[in-house]
């Protein structure tokens, strides 16, 4: 009885972790599945076939490559534009600044289905009707990533001590040196976080993409399409890979900051 009381918090914590990780575990498990029947959701036996032939269905790999390309392009453009916008919003006083601050939140607050359908209406009325595809998806992704970048970088910038840049100038740094030696290194974690967030938002988006994709298929759209017939096991391979990559990024970041802390202590 007392043992339960003492370890209740620990057990609850473990239960939450299990709850969170079971779906991921299933994805990893299924990537090694050798389906015996049409019912692909049961584990038939262990095999490496899925990993050895990830592109058994070439259209899936095309979709993955397309999603990664769109994700990277959208991340690059929205991170650059969003960072510049965040600097303008924090550092400069101009007419319409406070309303801009407010408007930046709108794309995040609007339901995706509303944003997606209004974008579709815009594209059609702008004459893109027959040409929906890579370009329109990219434009849509840049649009919603931009808000997240601005908000993330702006928070980082606003939390920075103004005196630091003044101190740099006082210590003979030119405006360019002040930016690259002091401002940028201090804001960089915010920019990096914004870029990672943008990529995962873009890679994973279904609703807005589906409405503006025309006949082009991204990875989430592919999965949605094949889900009716039975998801090929290779989808789990891609899922596992994505999971491993994100874990790797987190571990590398954690390792770097720990090493810095340790180096600083000696």
């Amino acid at each position: 009885m007392s043992w339960i009381r003492r370890n209740l918090v620990l057990m609850l914590g473990l239960a939450v972790l299990v709850y969170t990780f079971v779906p991921i575990f299933i994805v990893v498990l299924m990537s090694f599945n050798d389906p015996r029947s049409r019912n692909v959701y049961s584990f038939g036996g262990f095999t490496l076939d899925n990993w050895l032939n990830p592109c058994l269905d070439p259209s899936m790999c095309d979709a993955v490559v397309r999603s990664i390309t769109i994700g990277m392009a959208a991340t690059l453009v929205s991170t650059v534009l969003g960072t510049l916008a965040a600097f303008a919003l924090v550092r400069h006083r101009f007419a319409g600044r406070s309303s801009t601050n407010l408007l930046v939140f709108l794309p995040m607050a609007a339901p995706e289905i509303v944003l997606g359908s209004s974008l579709l209406a815009l594209f059609v009325s702008a004459g893109f009707a027959g040409q929906l595809g890579f370009r329109t998806i990219l434009i849509a992704h840049i649009l919603f990533c931009l808000s997240f970048v601005i908000v993330t970088v702006r928070a980082r910038l606003a939390g920075m001590d103004d005196n630091l840049e003044q101190a740099a100038q006082d210590l003979y740094a030119t405006p360019a040196q002040t930016f690259w030696r002091v401002t940028f290194p201090l804001v960089f974690p915010g920019i990096l976080g914004a870029a990672l967030l943008s990529f995962s938002l873009s890679f994973d988006d279904f609703i807005i993409t589906n409405l503006n994709a025309g006949t082009t298929t991204t990875f989430p759209m592919y999965v949605w399409g094949v889900a009716q017939r039975g998801v090929p096991m290779q989808v789990n391979v891609i899922g596992t890979l994505m999971f491993v990559v994100s874990i790797a990024i987190v571990l590398v970041a954690e390792h770097r900051s720990r090493r810095q802390r340790r180096a600083a202590l000696t």
Partner: protein, 388 residues
């Protein structure tokens, strides 16, 4: 007003002034004038303090000298060069910020080396090591600022500015964030370093004790201008305005009517008692004035007692409050005209302690009194009771 500045500028007239010279310096923010036509000469190699309450314009003045704020009008000259419009990174001036503003992503070594690296100075390593030794932080060179205590961060900020050997080092309330004990030891430390390196230091502070302890020359600022400038002892002993009299220590200011002026004495009728003030300590031309006397210069005794101060004697006081603080006893004495005067009596053991309600007589030597302009507010610059 600024007698020291006038002497200095007279001495260097003709040749280019090698210190810092401010002329007609003005800074307005919208409708508010933070610094108003300020003239100031800071001699090379001096430890100069700008002392004043918050909002008096002292920090704005400092920021204009650093180039972080552009003057509305006026000029700044440093060692004969006009630097009014130059950018902060082009001025041979460095600042120790109130918040230290250490670069959080750089080690202590790199923080100190920052200015040298920007100017591409050689032998960075040797110079930084020397500077870290001066501020006793050699073992902390690899750490980040967040891993240092407040006092250590303060020393890094000082080292980071000093290493550049600027023409003028500006200190913006650098000790404000430290606790009292640490502040006292840092005051001595900063003073020692200034003597060692011999650079011009301009120290901005609202702490009158700090200014008087550290600086050779103190400029008392009020409402965007300089009230009085001089050596700490001169300012304290012979204040020229009620603001200085109250802001630097405490003063009793008593209303009086001038009844006669001779070459070296001014006679004043103070509520029926005739007192005199040396002419050099009289700063009032009108018929009325404020007679000022520091509380520790006032002697207290029994009525009719022969006090060892042959001078102004004022009878009829009643003790209304006694605080015994060890080295001295602080009395409040109500005078016949209703005003309460402060008296600090040293506990030398020669005089007995008075109790509340006792009749006493006050006295002071005429050479300690000063006379101030009656048009000035007698409570200007006085510190509120709750903020000692």
């Amino acid at each position: 007003m600024s007698s020291v500045a006038e002497q200095e500028s007279a001495a260097t007239e003709g040749a280019a002034y090698d210190g810092l010279r401010l002329r007609g310096l003005t800074k307005s923010f919208g409708g508010f004038t933070a610094v108003d036509r300020l003239d100031l000469d800071v001699p090379r190699g001096s430890f100069f303090a700008l002392l004043g309450p918050s909002g008096c314009g002292k920090t704005t003045t400092l920021r204009m000298v650093a180039g972080l704020e552009a003057p509305t009008s006026g000029s700044i000259e440093l060692a004969g060069q006009d630097i009014t419009r130059t950018k902060p990174h082009q001025r041979p001036v460095n600042t120790v910020f109130q918040s230290y503003a250490l670069f959080p992503h750089l080690t202590i070594f790199e923080n100190v080396a920052f200015g040298l690296r920007r100017r591409r100075v050689r032998e960075v390593r040797t110079k930084v090591e020397e500077m870290l030794e001066l501020v006793e932080l050699t073992t902390h060179r690899g750490r980040l600022p967040a891993q240092l205590s407040g006092g250590q961060q303060q020393r890094v900020a000082l080292a980071r500015a000093l290493i550049n050997e600027p023409e003028v080092l500006l200190l913006d309330e650098p000790l404000g964030a430290l606790d009292l004990k640490l502040r006292r030891s840092m005051q001595i430390e900063v003073k020692r370093i200034q003597t060692e390196v011999g650079l011009t230091f301009i120290h901005v502070t609202h702490d009158q004790e700090e200014a008087m302890t550290m600086a050779d020359t103190v400029a008392v600022m009020n409402a965007g201008g300089i009230e009085q400038l001089g050596a700490p002892s001169a300012l304290y002993e012979n204040p020229q305005s009620t603001f200085v009299a109250n802001f630097l220590g405490q003063s009793n200011l008593i209303e009086g009517t001038v009844i006669g002026r001779s070459a070296d004495l001014v006679s004043v009728d103070m509520h029926g008692v005739a007192v005199s003030v040396p002419a050099v300590r009289s700063h009032a031309d009108g018929a009325k004035g404020w007679i000022g006397i520091r509380p520790e210069k006032v002697l207290v005794g029994e009525p009719g007692e022969e006090l060892d101060a042959p001078g102004n004697t004022i009878p009829g006081g009643v003790v209304t409050d006694v605080s015994f603080v060890g080295v001295s006893t602080q009395y409040l004495v109500r005078m016949p005209w209703g005003q309460e005067l402060q008296v600090f009596a040293q506990n030398t053991g020669r005089n007995r302690l008075f109790r509340t309600g006792e009749q006493v007589e006050l006295s002071w030597r005429p050479e300690y009194a000063f006379l101030l302009d009656h048009d000035q507010d007698a409570s200007a610059g006085a510190q509120r009771v709750d903020a000692s």
